[in-house]
Symmetry: C2
Subunit: 336 residues, 2 copies
């Protein structure tokens, strides 16, 4: 089934959305918010699935669904942990600054804890204080878990995945070096993330969802032009089961925890860094990566970071070309 939270109060108003994203039905008779549904998923999910089936058959009351009415599926969540599962991306970051990556990065996931108290809806602007902060998007896949016990195995972790969605993990590139140099994580360099209008259960993805990976291209557009279409299933060193188990190694995770896999990033067919879309490559899921490739190839980055007035669009389509999660589409605006 597909679920969305219409903008309403602090936690949104849960609706069940039709597979083609054209119609919705209120979930209120079952449960008012997505967090409440996740808190007792075993009880609520079957009844929400019934609503989803009724919606497909036209047997429940429904209304027109508009993506721009949506808040994030979890407008505020109790936890957001973002891994760097596409180690290719991390390797490039290092190469671009002439450093080598520790071998352990191929076996021990990088993960940071981010803010999830005030997430952005799919059409809400990214507000930044200055273009000098180096405003960038990161197109990612994320999952929402149920309760995960401390020390869960990868298999148990895979079984805890309730929902899947898209994220724009907004990043302030020029604030990252200073923050990371302090050693305590990204804090000021990662403002609120934005999420796709719709979040879906794994069964909605059919064969594209296997072994904890989503095997479809993730589309990223800047000002209407394709910037990247990397395959989210390729070059994903750590699957979602491994990422969740990593997060739960020393502590339990509560229902509604969001786990991201980091910026999607593909190698080129020859094993080197991927090429830009303009050169026939799959492009990139963030501007920083294109800049890194430019730096590696020509000595300096050329593509600018986002400027006020720019827009970013992030979307994923199924094999038939239909949008699965709806689109994140955000304008970049000055704060205040």
């Amino acid at each position: 089934m597909k679920l969305a939270s219409l903008a309403h109060g602090r936690d949104g108003r849960l609706v069940v959305v039709s597979r083609d994203l054209t119609r919705a039905t209120d979930a209120f008779p079952v449960v008012p918010t997505l967090q409440a549904a996740l808190d007792d998923w075993g009880r609520h999910a079957p009844r929400l699935a019934d609503l989803a089936e009724g919606l497909e058959h036209g047997s429940v009351p429904s209304f027109r669904f508009h993506e721009h009415d949506c808040a994030a599926p979890l407008p505020r969540a109790y936890q957001w942990l973002d891994g760097s599962a596409y180690v290719n991306h991390v390797d490039l970051v290092r190469k671009a600054r002439g450093a080598t990556m520790p071998e352990s990065f191929w076996t021990d996931p990088l993960m940071y804890q981010g803010g999830s108290d005030a997430s952005l809806g799919p059409r809400q602007a990214v507000q930044a204080r200055s273009e000098e902060d180096g405003i960038d998007f990161e197109a990612e896949i994320a999952v929402v878990t149920g309760d995960v016990p401390m020390g869960a195995t990868r298999e148990e972790a895979l079984g805890s995945i309730r929902l899947i969605m898209l994220v724009n993990d907004v990043s302030l590139r020029n604030r990252i070096p200073g923050e990371l140099a302090k050693g305590f994580g990204f804090v000021q360099s990662k403002p609120s993330s934005a999420y796709s209008p719709v979040t879906v259960t794994p069964d909605e993805l059919g064969e594209a969802w296997r072994e904890g990976r989503l095997h479809l291209p993730l589309l990223a557009l800047v000002n209407g032009t394709l910037f990247g279409k990397p395959d989210a299933g390729a070059d994903m060193t750590f699957d979602f089961g491994t990422l969740i188990a990593h997060a739960a190694a020393t502590r339990r995770l509560s229902a509604g925890t969001i786990i991201g896999a980091g910026t999607v990033s593909n190698r080129d067919a020859d094993g080197g860094p991927g090429r830009p879309v303009a050169e026939g490559g799959r492009g990139y899921a963030c501007i920083a990566e294109q800049r890194m490739v430019e730096a590696i190839r020509s000595g300096e980055p050329k593509t600018p970071f986002l400027r006020f007035g720019d827009t970013v669009r992030i979307e994923m389509k199924d094999a038939a070309g239909h949008s699965i999660f709806g689109a994140i589409e955000q304008e970049i605006l000055p704060h205040g």
Copy 2:
């Protein structure tokens, strides 16, 4: 007023607690949970204050209050950001490993984002997988904010403080170097934190709360023996207003955000590192600091980290010797 969440479901059951921590009255007629109270504080706080007054006068129904019935005031919170406001502590960490601390640490707060989806109540055991992880406590003060706009000033931030409480920021010392070396923060090395039974509004602290600092000794005991009594108001380089404004520099903070000030740490009267309690000093709010002082003085740390079966108690008393927040008292146990 003083508030607590009795263990009940995922979010606890909010009660108003008498000043002397002996009696409580149900807050349910006003609002069922602390998060719900914070979501609309302007409406709920005056009515909760009326209950608190009625409780002192014996004019509302009440029952015996037991600290061991409590969950954390916010059993799950949308955000937990912990600063290192006692720069003396950070300086010692560096000295103990022969490194110097950047000057900027005196003006730019260190802060990490931690897990708040599954906090421990004041009497819940700390469960760890192995003593080899180097299990340690960190006795801290934390505040709970209302909504804080992005870019808030220190003064606005101070005005956003709704509640104050104590924290045990449980730390796995031997996992920290590996995690911090990856540059993305503490994740696996900071399991769930525990909180005091009671959280209080700033006015309950009278003169002890001024300029965003709590000027009272924070007591830490290990296995019943005093380990530290550092003054939380002394040597606090960054006050809570500054810490909150730092957190809100690039993003807004939602109501119910918890901001910690890090391990309380005092210098000795001569300006050097504080001395152990056994030598007439104020001691330490974590074992790591005593070990660092030992390493600086004699070349190697002597005090062991916590072992299974050990207990830690964290408490703060007012000028008259009465417990303000009740006590965190946790046993260390093997997981599973």
